[in-house]
Symmetry: C2
Subunit: 156 residues, 2 copies
């Protein structure tokens, strides 16, 4: 039995490699929860190291914090993910990765067709006119891209 079952935010930060500010941010976003000391300082359970680890790994796999929060709240009673949960979740993630790979491979093919053609016609170019929008990445309100290109005419 450990002398300290609860850890301070700095220790959680050190154990996970995440900045203290990021941990507070995750708490504000509802990804983790903290107890408080009499003086108002956060105290975390050791299990929260695992919970933060889950967040980091899921991020590496491309999930947004919102999606991660959804996964975490899907666990009964705010439980930290265990092996069975992880099996379920990671199986779902694999499908996601497969889709990303497929999209990139298709991009690669199209690029192959395109090398040397130099057409750069938005009307004809397979690279731009795709049915899959899977390459969508990055920040900012570019959410319209793809919805809009309706009246695209020929170049030149």
């Amino acid at each position: 039995m450990h002398r300290t079952d609860l850890i301070a935010i700095g220790e959680l930060a050190a154990r996970t490699g995440v900045a203290v500010s990021a941990i507070r941010f995750y708490e504000a976003k509802g990804l983790i929860e903290a107890l408080r000391t009499g003086g108002g300082q956060r105290r975390f359970l050791r299990a929260d190291i695992r919970r933060v680890s889950f967040i980091l790994i899921a991020q590496q796999l491309g999930l947004s914090l919102e999606e991660i929060a959804a996964e975490l709240t899907r666990l009964p009673a705010g439980r930290t993910p265990n092996g069975a949960d992880w099996t379920r979740i990671s199986t779902g993630l694999r499908a996601r990765i497969d889709a990303q790979i497929a999209a990139l491979q298709r991009t690669r093919e199209l690029l192959g067709d395109c090398i040397g053609c130099g057409c750069l016609s938005l009307k004809k170019c397979g690279l731009y006119n795709r049915d899959d929008k899977a390459a969508q990445r990055g920040a900012g309100p570019r959410y319209v891209l793809g919805d809009r290109a309706k009246e695209i005419a020929e170049i030149g």
Copy 2:
């Protein structure tokens, strides 16, 4: 010979599917240039349709506007990319895509190892402790991630 060799911003927008505001933004960023009428309105060359197309396609391939600007200014005399340029550029892009695919395939393998293990140890987990940082995507100052995770201890 066309009656109008120059097109207004609205037409460039319509021809490329990009919002007018985005075209102004690209101009402000130095990605395209415009002539001005006596009244101060922008007039573009028809060739700029091709130039904007290049921007869009390069974006689909994951380049930032800054990188795209670099490619464009690498062309002599602010020329619009032609077939030869495109061959050179797209060959480089292919390498980039290949790297992305490789990174994802490696992620997939690691995830396969991981399914059912449920360890979620930052110290041991191959998913988190990667040498390649290729999965880096998305917005915001998360650029530190990966640099930092030095003093990572065991879980639990």
